[in-house]
Amino acid sequence: MFDRDKWQEIFSTIRKNKTRTILTGFSVATGIFMLIFLLGAGRGLRNGMTSVFAQDATNSMQIFGGRTTKAYKGTPEGKRIQMVNDDFLNLKKSIQKIDAISAMSYIPGAETISYKNNFGNFNVSPVHDTYKEIKNFEIIKGRFLNQNDLAEHRKVVAIQDEVKKVLFPKETALNKYININDIKFKVIGVFHQSSFDDNSREIYIPITVAQKIFNNNDHIRRISFTLNNVSVEESQNIERQITYKMAARHNFSKEDKNALWIQNNIENSQTFAGLFSAIEMFVWIIGIFTILLGVIGVFNIMMIVVKERTKEIGIRKAIGASPNSVIGLILMEAIFITAASGYVGLIAGVGLLESISQFDIIEKVYPPAAIYFIDPQVDLGIAIGATIVLVITGALAGFFPARKAAAIRPIEALRDE
């Protein structure tokens, strides 16, 4: 295998037929290149999508109040369903698999937030302290809201890094007071969150404070929670359970799909996973077929090589080459062409993926797409797998030509025409 002489033999013939060898190698290289690149791109897309959707934990659900579309028990259709604190408490108690649960209310009116001379319009969301377990925040400074903030109605606020940039361009934000609708809130934390749109500028305050000083009621806009270790079926069961409970509490038909909006991320993320598996499968099929075409090319080349080299092989056999050494010669050549060109394709594919992520090429070409494409990589397993596939297919492509070469009879080959 690592016999230098054998390689020398192989190289001397390859050198003799450069163009032909390169053309064949090219098709194998293209196959591997496509396979690697598409798999990597698929992976990047999956990573991007996952990270975009990961702002809501993949095991989370959200409930919004809607409008009825069916008349029920004397109430005509079109009734608005307004969730209240009791709904939140009821769900928190009754759904056993719940891990973390938080409600969110809203602040009516303009939300102009200012600090000294800096101001901006930001989205103020009143939530529970548990909200940080549902949304995947990355705390940069300080902390998120805690139970005491909620219980003691503290006027505190956690702000997104983008908000900090606007309000506190040159100073630290922690422990400073910002104005929300002319009421002062103390900054207790700065966080980062990835999101669909680059314009998200979030501010979170305790829901108890908001309901007391801005709303003066117990309305909530949505309830978010995470579930522990549940299957998609279980999550759908829970969805149904919630609908039934809320239907009873708010007097609407259990069959009314619009009275309550439930976003089931468990189901969604499984759908996504399935979608990406399908894409990956598709990519494999394309890649394998391209490689197969390349391998057929190698097979053809080797057949021609054997035919052209009939006389030479006859000479070799006359002076003592055993059938095995002839088989080895042809087989190694086929494996070498496939493996070498496959390797070139592999390097090219990995190189392209690397440069895309290194130089933020997508960011430069079309910025909005960038967040959907993160870390496009092929793992070592795929690279090793591809290499093994190449060597095996190379061997297959060389096998029949090699057998043909070994069967050459010197007297036939050496006969003068």
Partner: protein, 239 residues
């Protein structure tokens, strides 16, 4: 060294069966210089191919170096060819993309001799043939006589017991023919059995024994003068 008893050989092409060798009995001793003559199609090459294990005989007994040759595996035949036999062909049969030295060294590759050693040996043999300066030339840069001397060096490098030459001078002019024959005689003097197929009388007369084939049979065997290196002229030249 070589003993043939009632050797038969037929070629089957399609539905035709061509009986080429029709019972050859022959004994060639170690160290002999023998030529095989005969008209075209008489079976000279066929006989030489059988002697050289490049082809099998159908019938009869072939003993080579005290070993009976029956149908054997291609691997075994290759090994015997490599160790025991050396070939020289009319059309030289050098490998076109290897230089003279590499061509000469090739048989040793199949004996797993290291590259360095076999190239050194190849250069020595080329030197003996007076081709030292041509060692790194490709075959297409050599004259016919030079090519044939490279081929002889290649046949010699494994120190075989027998050299088989099928019309080694067939593609050469008379002057180079004589040079190549002198070379083969030289080799024969070192104790190696040499068998030459030819249809040139003067070439045949440079050997110890002429075996005349006709129509697949040995028609006659002519013993040349034992002291034939004195170029005896008394022997009648066979037409």
């Amino acid at each position: 060294m070589i003993r043939l008893q009632n050797i038969h050989k037929s070629y089957i092409t399609g539905t035709n069966k061509l009986h080429v060798l029709k019972g050859i009995d022959l004994h060639i001793k170690k160290g002999e210089l023998v030529s095989i003559m005969g008209s075209s199609g008489s079976g000279k090459s066929t006989l030489l191919n059988i002697l050289g294990l490049l082809d099998n005989h159908d019938e009869g007994v072939y003993e080579l170096n005290n070993e009976e040759i029956k149908s054997m595996s291609e691997t075994k035949a290759a090994k015997l060819r490599n160790n025991l036999l050396g070939f020289v062909f009319q059309s030289f049969n050098l490998i076109s993309f290897k230089n003279a030295m590499e061509n000469v060294a090739l048989p040793l590759y199949y004996q797993k001799v290291s590259r360095k050693k076999r190239n050194k040996l190849a250069l020595e043999y080329l030197d003996k043939m007076g081709l030292k300066e041509w060692a790194h030339h490709m075959p297409n840069e050599l004259s016919g006589g030079q090519k044939q001397r490279v081929a002889v060096a290649r046949a010699m490098i494994t120190e075989p017991k027998i050299i088989l030459a099928d019309e080694p001078t067939g593609a050469l002019d008379s002057k180079t023919s004589v040079e190549v024959m002198e070379l083969l005689k030289e080799i024969n003097k070192s104790g190696i059995t040499v068998i030459i197929v030819t249809h040139e009388n003067d070439i045949a007369h440079m050997t110890d024994r002429i075996i005349n084939l006709k129509d697949g049979r040995i028609e006659s065997i002519v013993e040349n003068n034992k002291i034939n290196n004195t170029e005896s002229v008394q022997i009648p030249i066979q037409e």
